[in-house]
């Protein structure tokens, strides 16, 4: 079975020593992210995130379906993360690795159940018609920090996405294609962002945004999902060794800082993109909506 080749003993030893000397391989301080890049495609709802050498593309798509019978007034929203061998030969098509399972679970908790998206706004006609939103997360390049990168990608893509406009009269709705009517941004309740802390020496050392090598030597990880208002949406701790509660508390503080920065970053990128698209003031009101 192809699986990630584990790193040599020398590397493991060296990295741990270095960390004890407060040195990270790429010279970053413990609590800083790698360089973050975010770009949008020509289409709505495609976010291309680069976190160091890690690269993730999230794509939002919408179609009209019938809502679940038990949730008549809600639209449908799904996140699909399927790894391809592109990111690493260790990924086999149709056979999820643990990393993949954890990733999808976290995103599920952080974004879907975290209620980032107002699913009721996706309902068209109660019980019969609603939008089914789908987020496809494509891992293009894998150098650690998949969770954080993917979360950023999805949240950014959701903010960037526009769904087709609809007009409802009575029992039948008409869906307007993009050329017919200006599409509409999604209504989001908040923007959760994941920050992953990798710990060594049972929490003595807490690393923000570990790269693949560091991930391979860490004892475990703590994933904290927050929005810029400091509301924790989700906390997950993997790895057996126990971590001091205060350290965790401290992590949340660090996380909040990061979340604020990242949210701001995404916002600015969105505005740039809006400007780029805003030709002839056609989408003036759109970008206005966009900004708030």
């Amino acid at each position: 079975m192809p699986r990630e080749a584990d790193i040599s003993a020398n590397e493991r030893e060296f990295i741990q020593q270095a960390l004890r000397e407060n040195i990270r391989l790429d010279g970053r301080p413990f609590d800083s992210f790698r360089s973050l890049e975010l770009s949008f495609g020509d289409e709505y709802g495609v976010a291309d995130v680069q976190l160091g050498k890690t690269r993730v593309i999230a794509r939002i798509s919408a179609e009209v379906t019938a809502p679940f019978p038990d949730r008549k007034f809600d639209g449908i929203f799904n996140i699909s993360t399927e790894f391809s061998p592109m990111a690493s030969p260790a990924f086999e098509v149709g056979r999820p690795t643990d990393a993949e399972v954890i990733l999808s679970r976290i995103l599920e908790k952080a974004i879907r159940r975290g209620g980032a998206l107002d699913t009721e706004s996706l309902c068209i006609i109660a019980g019969t018609k609603c939008f089914s939103l789908r987020a496809d997360v494509h891992i293009v390049d894998h150098d650690g920090g998949l969770i954080d990168a993917s979360c950023i990608a999805v949240v950014a893509a959701l903010q960037h996405f526009r769904r087709p406009d609809v007009a409802v009269e009575g029992e039948n709705a008409t869906i307007f294609s993009i050329r017919e009517r200006e599409p509409i941004p999604l209504s989001m309740l908040h923007h959760p962002i994941c920050v992953t802390f990798s710990y060594c020496d049972s929490g003595e050392i807490m690393l923000v945004d570990a790269n693949l090598a560091e991930e391979q030597v860490r004892e475990g990880e703590v994933v904290i999902t927050m929005n810029k208002h400091g509301e924790v949406c989700q906390i997950a701790k993997y790895g057996g060794t126990s971590v001091d509660a205060l350290t965790l508390l401290n992590c949340t503080n660090v996380a909040l800082e990061k979340v604020k920065d990242i949210t701001k970053f995404i916002q600015s990128k969105l505005e740039q993109d809006a400007k780029k698209r805003d030709v002839g003031g056609l989408m003036a009101e759109l970008s206005a909506e966009n900004a708030r």
Binding site: E63, V64, T65, A66, T174
Partner: protein, 414 residues
Amino acid sequence: MVPSSHFNHIRDNTDLKLELKIPELNSQFARNSHNIPPYAQNKPPKPPNLALKISMAAKTTEAPSLSFPRDIFAALSPSPFLLAHLSPQTPSTPSIRPNGRAPSEFRKPTIHRGSLTHCSGSAVVRLGDTAVVCGVRGEILLAADIPNPPSAPPQPAATDASDADADDEDDSAELSQLSLLVPNIELATGSTPTHLPGSPPSTLAQSLTARLRALLLSTRLIRARDLRILHRAPPPPDAAATPDVPPTEEAKAYWTLYIDTLFISLDGNAFDAAWAAVVVALRDTRLPRAWWDDDVEAILCSDVPAEARALRLRGLPVAASFAVFAPGGGVGDSAFRDGQEERAWVLSDPDAFEEALCPEVVTVTVDCTGGERRVRRIEKSGGSTVGRELMKGVVQRAEERWKDWLEVFGVGNS
């Protein structure tokens, strides 16, 4: 300090290595260890004179020591075996395939329709040792259940539905968007030792299914109007029975055609057989008269056979497949020898044995109804032998083949 021992000068000469081809013997071993069937097939051996010819041929192509009985030879080194058959011993003798056919010879198809009780239309098609059963079953899709109906509601042509003007209407988009055609191919019926039930559809099965669907749509074989169940309130007794309908009518529901194709036996050229089966089954299909009933609030059908309608198919496309046998193996390695291009044979309607040896395959779908010869689809991949010139010949063969099928289909009633 840098221990110089850790460096070493570049070693061009060791860097430089001539590529040499793996000796045939070597590959012999590989084959030996790999695909001799542990249990000999009980296939009837050829008449002796032919067998003799093989062993002669064997001497020319194989190491002289080898003189096997026919079936072992075939199993041990299939490619030379096929080559031995095809390369004529004397210029006069034509080349003959192991299955006794000439390179351009197809297998004679046999078909039967309507053998399945629970289908609107069905067919059994046999192509040599390849046998297919296809059942078409119509089910009803209520327009109300379509979450996102196509933006432009289909307006049936107001005038009489003579095939002529109905032909122009490009309705295949409607079919595909509503996915009114649901073709599926099932190989996992024990049709071959490699396709046993319980396993999900193999790549081959999926690929065939995809081709089938694409061809159904691109040939626009089926008219969307045949599948619409129109309604005008209040429904006059003869609603929808007569094809001429004012545009005020709306499609209340659609017939969805489930086209399930099961392989009973597979000995090469799956697609031709499957496609033929589908076409025959569709030609055999009779959909009962259906209408929207306001009292029951549902679509009802009449069980009077006389009222049932056949599908008015557009034309009669026929698929013909070919495999290209290039002794070099057709694999990149041996391709592109400068000057002399390698010998190759285009084998019509290949069987399983030949398919295994021919990476390059061509499928041409033609329709010669009404005299004009039209190509409906060309599929060619896996090699570089068939270029423009050869393709012409291939298309011609396909057109010949079309006539064969026409006979089997039973001419005229199209």
